[in-house]
Symmetry: C2
């Protein structure tokens, strides 16, 4: 690896990281390429050496950041012991905390969502976003299914509806935490997950 390549890697990382910060702080439209360049310590033109245009940079940030969060949240789920209820609880807590630890950049998700929602132009965001959710939903649904088989959970439990509800509550709680910094979201989240799982149990 020569000097050019080292430089390229370092600069690419600096650009992505700075772009995440600036997009979080200002939103997609208000974030200026010049801002991102300054934050990354590079010239404005350099950014266009790495990304075709602003939208391509944004999509790169989207993939980089969601990969990072997905890796952080799911990594220790497999290694956990205990019955399905206990492991589901641990998975929910760990996923929640993985995102909560990055609360100050959570606002960029509003931009991701907005990009994903526009059905005309931005199909790739939607696909990629649903893919990410589906991974988590599948993981959760697997635990719910397992819990039903081992008679920890109620036999009539709707696996998919439960998984979707749990995933949704993660997003919703994060939104509340982000809007209201006085809200003790980790505690509330843990108690809420306990309640939901209590409702899932076989009597």
């Amino acid at each position: 690896m020569n000097k050019w390549e080292k430089n390229k890697q370092a600069k690419q990382a600096a650009i992505l990281s700075s772009a995440l910060t600036i997009f979080s702080e200002k939103g997609y439209t208000a974030a200026k390429i010049a801002d991102i360049a300054r934050a990354a310590g590079v010239g404005k033109g350099t950014i266009y050496e790495y990304y075709r245009n602003k939208e391509a940079l944004f999509f790169a940030v989207f993939q980089w950041y969601t990969d990072f969060l997905a890796g952080n949240s799911m990594v220790d789920a497999a290694s956990l012991g205990g019955n399905a209820a206990r492991r589901l609880n641990a998975l929910m807590r760990s996923t929640f905390m993985a995102v909560y630890d990055q609360l100050d950049t959570f606002s960029v998700f509003l931009e991701f969502w907005a990009a994903a929602g526009n059905p005309a132009i931005r199909e790739r965001y939607r696909v990629s976003m649903l893919n990410m959710y589906e991974k988590l939903t599948t993981l959760i649904a697997g635990l719910v299914e397992e819990g039903k088989r081992s008679r920890v959970f109620h036999p009539d439990l709707d696996v998919h509806a439960t998984a979707m509800g749990l995933v949704s509550s993660l997003d919703g709680l994060m939104l509340q935490a982000w809007m209201d910094r006085t809200f003790d979201a980790p505690t509330a989240a843990n108690r809420f997950f306990d309640t939901v799982i209590r409702g899932m149990r076989a009597k």
Copy 2:
């Protein structure tokens, strides 16, 4: 009321309604004043007779729309019968459906959230938004409290955490429904609410 006033009322309604549509479709920044004017069937200058600038128009839409939804969702909650669990279930369903019925304009909430989250400039969005959530949270917390008193719900239940969890799951489920139109959100929501409320019950 003379002709001027009638015209003003009609035009103001047309402008707000068109603004909601355009902001939903394109997002705050990409929505052009000219687009909104055309959709409302008025000249561009006319909009500035009613609203100082684009941001003032957006805030007016925010208040108008959230008032509308709040009115729709909570109106029949008081009139319901049954025990606390039954009434809580009905309140959750009715609130969910009130927003779900307007799913195609749900995306404007992403813009509202983004506006509310920026702590520097937009304190009034944050205050107004938290106020709206607090009304719903208080309503739910009241039912939870009542359920605890009447021994329908578990005595150790954390009222605030439960209420926040339920409110959050509304937002989260709506987001999922909006991103994925194949998701049968009303059914999943109802089943999830059932599960949560089951977990709240005294054994």
